[in-house]
Symmetry: C3
Subunit: 267 residues, 3 copies
Amino acid sequence: MTGNEIESVRKSVPLVHCITNYVTVNDVANVVLACGGSPIMTDDTGEAAEIAAASGAVVLNIGTLNDRTVSAMQKAGKAANQNAVPVVFDPVGAGASALRNRTVEKLLAELDFTVIRGNLSEISFVAGIKARTRGVDAGEADRKNDAAAVARAAAKKYGCIVVVTGAEDVITDGEKLARVKNGVPEMSRVTGTGCMLSGMLGAYAAAAQDVFSAVVSAVAGMGIAGEIAYEKNGGAGTGSLRTGIIDALSRMDDETLGKRGRVTYEG
Amino acid sequence: MTGNEIESVRKSVPLVHCITNYVTVNDVANVVLACGGSPIMTDDTGEAAEIAAASGAVVLNIGTLNDRTVSAMQKAGKAANQNAVPVVFDPVGAGASALRNRTVEKLLAELDFTVIRGNLSEISFVAGIKARTRGVDAGEADRKNDAAAVARAAAKKYGCIVVVTGAEDVITDGEKLARVKNGVPEMSRVTGTGCMLSGMLGAYAAAAQDVFSAVVSAVAGMGIAGEIAYEKNGGAGTGSLRTGIIDALSRMDDETLGKRGRVTYEG
Amino acid sequence: MTGNEIESVRKSVPLVHCITNYVTVNDVANVVLACGGSPIMTDDTGEAAEIAAASGAVVLNIGTLNDRTVSAMQKAGKAANQNAVPVVFDPVGAGASALRNRTVEKLLAELDFTVIRGNLSEISFVAGIKARTRGVDAGEADRKNDAAAVARAAAKKYGCIVVVTGAEDVITDGEKLARVKNGVPEMSRVTGTGCMLSGMLGAYAAAAQDVFSAVVSAVAGMGIAGEIAYEKNGGAGTGSLRTGIIDALSRMDDETLGKRGRVTYEG
C-alpha cells in the first residue's frame, strides 16, 4: 500500500475486460465501476482477443464455464499476454469437478497470469496439492493446509502473485508475503465477494506502478468495505450487506485504506 | 412446520446445485446462502452430472432455457435420481411457447421430481389442463382454475409434492394439502421471487426429515420475508423490497416462522 | 409528455420481450416491472419469434452478444416487424470491436426499429460517423460530435426515433428534437442505467399513443429517478443509488414527471 493506489485507479479509469460467470457478473461490473475502472464483460470468441488487447487488464473467472467461454478466455488471455496486458485468474471451484480441473490446468499451461486469486481449496489445486473442493466454497479438509505455504508454492510454480482469501488473506509472489486481517465473517454469506475482488484486482493491476503493493491494497480494500458495510447496517441482513459493500468501495480512498488496513509483511 | 427446519438447513449447509436462468441467478444464490445452504450454479453438460451427484439437492429452472442448459438439466436430473438426491423443478413459462411446453413434457417424462413449483398457469400445464400462459406471469384465464384441484392433479400425475404460488399458496402431495396466506402483493413486482423460492426449496428438501413439512416452511418463510421487508421499508419501492426480502431470509428463524406462519391444512 | 403515459403503462401492463445482456438483465427486468410492464427475457432461437409476436414490444441489446443470441434477435425482430410490434435497439459497444460493428450493421439492414438508444459513440457509429468507442462507455474523441446532429442523422437514415443519452439526453425523429436535462452524473457509475432505460422504452413504446412523446417521458423519468435516488441517499454510494433508482421508478407517476421533467423542444 503506497498511499495513492486508489487515486491511481480513479485517475486512469482502466478498461477491465472480464470473462466471468453470470451469477455475480453484475456485482463485478458495479465493483469495477465503484473502484474507478470501466468494465466490459463480453465473452464471445469473435471479439475476445480484440477487446483484451485494447484493455488495461483482463480478468478470467471460470464460475460458470462452458466451451464457448473457455475458448474466449484462451483467446483473450493470449492477446493480453502478447500485448503485456495484466491477466487475473479466478479458478472458481478448482478441485470440484474433472471439467474444472482440466480447464484450470489448460489455462495455467497456456497463459501467463499476473495474479491468481482463490480460496484455500482452489489454490491448493493450483499448487498441485491434493484438494477436495466441495462446490465453490473451501473444503473442510483443505483448511488444514497452511495458506501461506500453499500460496507460496503456487506463486513459485507459476511465477506470479497469488492471493488466498479466507478469514485471513495471504498475498505472495513466492518470496515476500503479506497477511491481511480485514473483513467480517458475514461477507461469506454474500455470493461473489471473491469474484468482486478479482474484478478489483484487474482494475488495480492495470493502474499499478507496483503490482504486489496494489494487490495488497485491493485485498485490504475489499475487507475494509465489508467492515464499513457491516458497521453501518450489519444487523439488517445479507442483502443490505451486499449493497453496503459496493457503497463503501465507491467511497473508499487511500486515507481510509491507510488507517484501517490491517496488513503485516513477512519474508 | 416442525419447529426446527430452518435450523436444520443452517446446521447441515447443504450444497444446492441450481441450473437456473441468468435473470435471477444472483438472487437465487444469495437466497440459498441466506437460508443456510451453499449454492453452486453451473450449467455445463461436462460437469452437470458430477456436481449433481455430489449435491444435497438439484434445482432445475427453465426461465432462460437453451439446448445446452436443457441438456445439462437432463444429465443433472438423471444423476440426482440415481443418487437419491432430491430434485426441484420450476417450469417457468410452461404454456407460453411450444419450446417450453416440449421441454417441460420431456423433463417430466425423463426425470423424477421431488417438488414442482410454479404459478397457476404453469402448474395447469403440468397437470395437463388447458392453459394460456402470457409470458412468465400467470394468465388471467387460468385464474379461474382452482389452484388446489390443479395442484392435486399435478401431484398425483407425477407422484411428487406440488406447490402453486399466488395470492394464496397451495402445497400438496396429491392427498394432504396446505394453504399458506403469507406474503404481500408487492412481491410480484420484484422479479424472481418464485425462482428464489425454488432455490430455497432445494436447500430445505436437502436438509429435511419430512419433505412436505419442510416445503410448507420454505413457502411460508418466503411470504414472511416479504411481509417483514414490506413492514420495514415498504414505502421505499421495489428495489428496497428485493434487498429486504434477502435481509429477512438471512435472519429468519424457526420461532419467527412459527409465530407468523399463516398455514391451514386439509385432507 | 402528455400527462398520462406512466398511467398508460401501468394500466396496460405490456409484455416486454427483452433479448439483452446477462450483466444487467436482472435490473432491466426489475425496471420493466417497476414502470408497470411484464418482462420476459428469453433469448433462445427456438421460441424468440413466437414470444416476440405475442409481446407488446421487443428490446434488443447486444451487450454480451454471441451467435445464438444474435440469431434470436434476428428471429424476434422479424416476427415483431411482421406483427407491428415496436422494436427498441440498444447497440451496446458499437464501434468497440469488428464483431459489434458487423452485428449492428446486419441488424440495422434486416430489421425496422422503432427506437434506437445509445451513447454518443454508439449512435455516431449507427449514423455512419467515424467513431472510436472505448469499451462500452462513450469515447472522449466522440464527445466533440454534436449529439443533436448525430441523432438527427441516425434518425433520418433509419426512419426511426433516436435517443442519445449523456449529460444531456437528445431525442429526435429526424425533424423534431427534445433535450432532457434530468439525471445526476453519479448514474454513470452504476452499470446498466442505459440498458434499464432501453427496457423502459420497450414498455412505453408498447403502451404509447404517441411514441415520440412516450420516449421523452421515459428518458425524463429515468433521469428523475436518478435525481430522487441521489437526493434521498446520495451520500451512501453507488450500491444504494442503484437500489434507489429502481425504488423511484416503481413509485413514479405522471404528476412527478410533469413537475420535475426538464425538457425543451426544437424543430
